[in-house]
Symmetry: C2
Subunit: 276 residues, 2 copies
């Protein structure tokens, strides 16, 4: 089976490494519109071959779209003439808009996936073996995918050590807004707050594990994340509103010196312990 990967960055490059490691493809080919990424991916041995043109990727049996979510929608429009036996799997962090924009003629070919993994780094040099191992992949609206394509996707994800979870795309995007996209927005906001106020020296001195953790996501690719925010706009705004409510609570409790209530509010937050 020939696997083609569009986007040879962190997600696509790491996927290539894991697919090779688990011998799930006879050949792995790739495409990236960035010439530098093409070169790096070849040099790093992420894929066996890098195609010059996007259209060549249609030769693969399975095409992974490991690119920003707006790019996924564009790429789907250019894949309408693939064989009915060709599988397309996207790895985007949003699902509803992508599925809505999948051309009906290739909807059976398409499997919408969101692997719950990543790092704050991007590009081929960020690719690492084992990124997907023991992680969850959410598959959305699989009843609209053809059996061949659904099973191929499941086999590859299970083959690289992932756990499958099935979800409605609408539900996925709402949950992802709160649990993934909101934390990213907050991390960028915290980084900007501190960068505006503080000099680099103080940041270096006082940034213990706490700030490092809280600002790590703010190193994530702006191109990728602005696309995600765009596609999940309504849910993200809703989650931001809820978060602002909590901020108002903590602000008022501190301002009005209601320390016991502040402790209770914090105590409620610590119950996350029981889940994670």
């Amino acid at each position: 089976m020939k696997v083609g990967i569009v986007g040879l960055g962190l997600m696509g490059g790491s996927l290539a490494l894991d697919i090779k490691e688990h011998a799930l493809a006879s050949r792995i080919v790739g495409y990236d519109r960035n010439p530098k990424h093409k070169e790096e991916a070849l040099k790093l041995g992420l894929v066996d071959e890098v195609y010059e043109e996007f259209d060549q990727i249609k030769q693969a049996d399975v095409i992974f779209l490991a690119i920003p979510v707006e790019g996924i929608i564009q790429a789907l429009q250019e894949l309408t003439d693939i064989s009915s036996d060709t599988t397309i799997i996207d790895l985007g962090s949003t699902k509803e808009r992508i599925i809505q924009n999948c051309p009906p003629v290739i909807r059976p070919n398409f499997v919408a996936a969101h692997p719950m993994t990543g790092t704050e780094y991007s590009g081929p040099l960020a690719a690492i073996k084992g990124l997907y191992y023991d992680k969850i992949v959410v598959l959305c609206d699989v009843e609209k995918s053809g059996t061949l394509h659904k099973e191929r996707a499941e086999n590859i994800f299970v083959g690289i050590g992932m756990q499958l979870v099935y979800m409605d795309a609408h539900e996925h995007d709402l949950h992802a807004a709160y649990i993934s996209h909101l934390p990213h927005a907050i991390s960028y906001a915290l980084a900007n707050t501190v960068l505006k106020q503080e000099d680099p020296k103080s940041i270096l001195i006082l940034a213990a594990g706490g700030f490092k953790d809280m600002s790590r996501l703010a190193k994530s690719s702006p191109a990728m994340w602005s696309d995600i925010f765009k596609q999940n706009k309504a849910n993200l705004l809703r989650s931001l509103k809820d978060f602002k409510k909590e901020l108002r609570i903590v602000y008022e409790l501190i301002e009005q010196e209601r320390w016991e209530e502040l402790q209770e509010w914090m105590q409620n937050a610590t119950t996350l312990h029981k889940i994670l």
Copy 2:
């Protein structure tokens, strides 16, 4: 030299382990007002002896106050009758209010320290070796500490592998508000937002590294952190105001679909890369 540690939790317990590891004391004694902590600390071998009464700690040559910041102020009031050769070192996350409330008679004995280390766990069972190694400790207003006491503190901190940084207490509290206390407030707020909206199953499925990092601080001890918020109220409110401004910016950019400006705003946040 006999070292006494008041508060045998994460910070005090780990300190005892490191002082023992580096043979910096002939004897390590401890006190904790929580009987369970006393028992656990002895069982874990964190200290050589646990005192029944707080007053007994005055027998030590160096007394560490590894307790919540409000407790530090109380403890200082009870230590006014120590020998002029007895050193008191606190490990609190705020410094200005503590220094202001140190009784003048023991001000020379007192060294105000903030070790930039910790975990989200608390209690004697959370104590770990090496917690202080290769970390920064901020010493505040040391010109008000006697030479003997200042040097003892420096020797112990350097002895367990820490880097010394000197800072004015007022400056420390302002910087710490933005770089440490604000991230904690945000983490509690995020945890509460998600806990109110989401069921535990979705959290487990969708919480990849990002949410785990961002909510880790929300597991921190509410008793300890509400005290810190209390003592650093003005600075923390100021930092929360600044953070709310950034949140308003990201909210508006998304709401008004100003994607290019959103990317620029994110791009600015990623410059943190260059520092951390």
